[in-house]
């Protein structure tokens, strides 16, 4: 049997994989991208909660012990299913020490040195600022409540073409209207135009080192409908491997490879952060929203607009203050969480305390259109640890799609619990003021904490004891393996992380190209970027002919 080879094998097609694919392919390398999920595009993105539609096809929900992760599972990864909020991380984040008593980020990286890379990603996607006319009712309500409490509130920079947006709030199932500028509109079509090959439904299981210093990558084919089924597999040999399977999967692949690759750095599968995320659900008193905040939609309603909008559009950044102590700095972002993926976790005030079930919860559900969800992004303590990997993938799959049980355990420290408590109190202060709402956090009892932004499970740093990667994103002790996804981010960011993950991937590219050159790959780095004005959306092969 002939051996399949490539120059660069990229695992995953989300932010970390797509950016790497673009630069290495445009630079002249032969690039192969293996993506575990299906290849979906506008006509596949359904407005339908039925199991098996894009709402479950494009997602991965892995329940762990104390932490569950919701992440993308399709070509384009998280960019296809996320809410496209793209703020930069505040300056103090890069100085964080966490619990290790010294700066967690590499000395080479701070906000100033990362800003040029933020600029590049912002231009390629592109990231736009929103006007107040773009702000949904839910965002307006949150801004008004913040103002009522003497706070500021900011429109969040987004990767959305508001001219095409219908405010349908189905964007977690993929954008039907091509308004969300996912990676299917910039880096990925640029990479494919330059010759990169994307193979969907290929789940990488492990790596093996070759005598020449390259790697053999082992994958399984995943059934396109029932992800519990794999149908054979294969191997590809590459001179360089870039892991970008997401912070819930990259460390699992490395752990499974340890028997053949040799010992992994201590930080592989440790220091996981859920980006400090936690949700609160407020039930708005419509009368008070009108009387206190002056809200009026023009149709007799003050609010009752939970369903309308485009995810998070307004954030409170008053506590993003570097003079505050660590674990007391956070953002509070208005969010939409659709039915099916978290409603069960919202708590109602019950006779015996907060409850997620029963008649009190039913009464809360009757008020669903008056819900306002607030997303807290605090500084957690990187306390997540991955246990032994499952036989395949990153979870024991339970359902046909989406739902599985994974090896992550997360036992929040007093620092993290204190940060959440402070943020909970702040949300209450803003929203319960003047009787505007009653608000409670989501329960952590059922599926643990819940993150949509897994980070740090294979992080960069200067200290080999607490970081798996050097500041060039190369895996310590395993030359030629790089990690460019959210697992490389050292710690929680206090804001949505996609732009920071992407900026770090952009920053890593010149070094990875140099490493590729050193391994004999004919590739160069010219610093080009996909032009959003001229790039055509990526379409599945067979939909239209792809560029030769």
């Amino acid at each position: 049997m002939s051996t399949e080879t490539t120059d660069v094998l990229i695992v995953g097609s989300g932010f970390g994989g797509a950016i790497a694919a673009y630069h290495l392919a445009t630079g002249g390398a032969k690039v192969t991208v293996l993506e575990r999920g299906p290849w979906l595009q506008a006509e596949d993105f359904d407005h339908d909660y039925l199991l098996g539609k894009s709402y479950t096809r494009a997602f991965d929900f892995v329940a762990g012990d104390g932490m569950s992760i919701l992440s993308g599972n399709c070509v384009g990864g998280g960019s296809v299913v996320y809410f496209a909020a793209l703020p930069r991380a505040p300056r103090f984040v890069f100085e964080r020490q966490g619990s290790i008593g010294r700066r967690m980020w590499p000395a080479a990286i701070d906000r100033d040195t990362l800003d040029p890379w933020y600029d590049r990603v912002s231009s390629a996607i592109p990231v736009k600022q929103q006007t107040w006319d773009d702000i949904s009712y839910a965002g307006g309500l949150w801004a008004a409540a913040c103002d009522n409490a003497g706070r500021t509130a900011n429109p969040v920079p987004v990767g959305i073409d508001n001219g095409k947006c219908t405010n349908c709030n189905w964007m977690m199932a993929g954008c039907k209207f091509d308004a969300k500028k996912s990676l299917l509109f910039n880096y990925l079509p640029g990479a494919v135009a330059a010759g990169a090959e994307i193979r969907p439904l290929h789940e990488v299981q492990r790596l093996e080192r070759l005598d020449d210093g390259g790697y053999r990558v082992h994958y399984l084919h995943v059934d396109e409908e029932d992800y519990r089924i794999t149908t054979g597999g294969g191997t590809i040999e590459a001179k360089i491997v870039i892991l970008a399977a997401g912070a819930g999967a990259t460390p699992v692949i490395l752990q499974r490879s340890e028997a053949e690759l040799g010992p992994m750095p201590h930080a592989v599968g440790r220091y996981f952060s859920g980006n400090g995320e936690r949700l609160n659900t407020a039930i708005i008193n419509e009368d008070r929203a009108r009387e206190v905040l002056g809200l009026e939609r023009g149709d007799g309603k003050a609010y009752e607009a939970n369903q309308i909008g485009k995810g998070p559009v307004i954030a409170s950044w008053d506590r993003l203050d570097g003079s505050l102590p660590e674990y007391r700095r956070y953002s509070l972002e208005q969010l939409y969480f659709p039915p099916g993926l978290g409603t069960i976790l919202a708590q109602a005030p019950g006779a015996d305390g907060p409850t997620w079930l029963g008649p009190a919860k039913k009464e809360m559900l009757r008020r669903w259109q008056s819900w306002l969800t607030i997303f807290q992004i605090v500084e957690d303590d990187n306390e997540g640890v991955f246990g032994p990997p499952p036989p395949t993938g990153n979870a024991y799959r339970i359902s046909q799609q989406m739902l599985g049980r994974g090896p992550l355990s997360y036992d929040p420290t007093p620092n993290t619990l204190g940060a959440w408590a402070a943020a909970d109190a702040d949300v209450r202060d803003i929203l319960e003021r003047d009787g505007i709402a009653t608000v409670l956090p989501w329960t952590n009892d059922l599926v643990g904490a819940y993150t949509v932004h897994p980070l740090s499970s294979c992080r960069i740093g200067d200290d080999p004891a607490t970081s798996a990667l050097d500041d060039r994103h190369e895996l310590r002790g395993h030359p030629g393996i790089f990690v460019t996804d959210g697992s490389a981010v050292p710690a929680a960011l206090t804001v949505n992380p996609a732009l920071t993950i992407s900026a770090l991937a952009e920053r890593a590219m010149p070094g990875i190209v140099a490493a590729a050159q050193a391994r004999g790959i004919k590739v160069s780095y010219d610093g080009s970027l996909p032009d959003p004005a001229t790039t055509k959306p990526l379409l599945r092969p067979g939909t239209v002919p792809l560029s030769a």
């Binding site: 407005h47 339908d48 909660y49 039925l50 199991l51 098996g52 479950t56 703020p87 930069r88 991380a89 505040p90 933020y118 107040w132 006319d133 702000i135 307006g140 801004a143 008004a144 103002d147 500021t152 509130a153 900011n154 429109p155 920079p157 219908t166 405010n167 349908c168 189905w170 039907k176 809200l295 009026e296 149709d299 009752e304 607009a305 369903q307 309308i308 950044w317 953002s331 659709p338 039915p339 099916g340 409603t343 069960i344 409850t355 079930l357 029963g358 008649p359 009464e363 559900l365 009757r366 669903w368 259109q369 799959r397 359902s399 046909q400 739902l403 009892d445 059922l446 643990g448 804001v495």
Partner: protein, 209 residues
């Protein structure tokens, strides 16, 4: 008629179904059905389908998880829990028996033990089974999750069919109707006003400094 008004027309609510309204019985299938219905009704309660309904405790008005199709949901092969339902039913009734003994509750033996519990005891038992540290927690959380999904998103049937059928859960949460092509678009979505001052340290790119 305004779409939302039409959607809230009570005549579109499903009528009680004799085939699922199992009140008592001894066959394994009847025990399974009535026990799972009682579990689902504890997660999102509804009103009794008729006065003799034993599965539904009747602590809420309107449709709950049972009327929303929780049993159909649990039997949908995509969930991955269908094969385990019989075991869960047996375990649940075992836990109910132990719970009743612990609390000094005498159970009506004409129905399965979990069904024989009053609503508050059913809820208390489910909270025990789903609490952090319970060795069977994963299974009970999954069961609760799918019962809740039947109500809040009708994920066992097409959302458009659910709307056409007057799905009790979507009706209860006030889910808006789609446009004629089956897609949701909201022409009116913004107050169009600046409600707050931005943070003074916002950069020119709109990010935190």
């Amino acid at each position: 008629m305004h779409p939302v008004t039409q959607w809230q027309d009570d005549e579109r609510l499903p009528q009680p179904r004799e085939d699922t309204a199992v009140h008592s019985g001894t066959s394994d299938e009847q025990v399974k059905t009535i026990t799972l219905e009682a579990f689902a009704d504890t997660i999102v309660p509804g009103e009794k389908r008729d006065p003799d309904d034993r599965a539904i405790a009747g602590v809420s008005t309107g449709g709950g998880a049972v009327q929303s199709g929780a049993l159909e949901m649990l039997h949908h092969p995509a969930t991955g829990i269908t094969a385990g339902l019989e075991s869960l039913v047996g375990m649940l009734n075992g836990h109910a028996t132990a719970y009743a003994a612990d609390k000094g509750i005498t159970l009506d033996e004409t129905v399965p033990p979990f069904v024989a519990l009053e609503f508050d005891d059913r809820a208390a038992l489910i909270k025990i089974l789903t609490a952090p540290g319970h060795p069977e927690k994963s299974g009970w959380v999954l069961l609760a999750l799918f019962c809740n999904m039947a109500f809040d998103s009708a994920a066992h049937i097409s959302t458009h069919d659910a709307i056409a059928q007057g799905h009790p859960g979507l009706l209860t949460i006030g889910f808006e109707l789609p446009q004629k092509d089956g897609l949701w678009r909201f022409k009116d979505y913004s107050y169009g006003r600046q409600f707050a001052k931005p943070h003074p340290d916002t950069t020119a790119t709109g990010s935190p400094a």
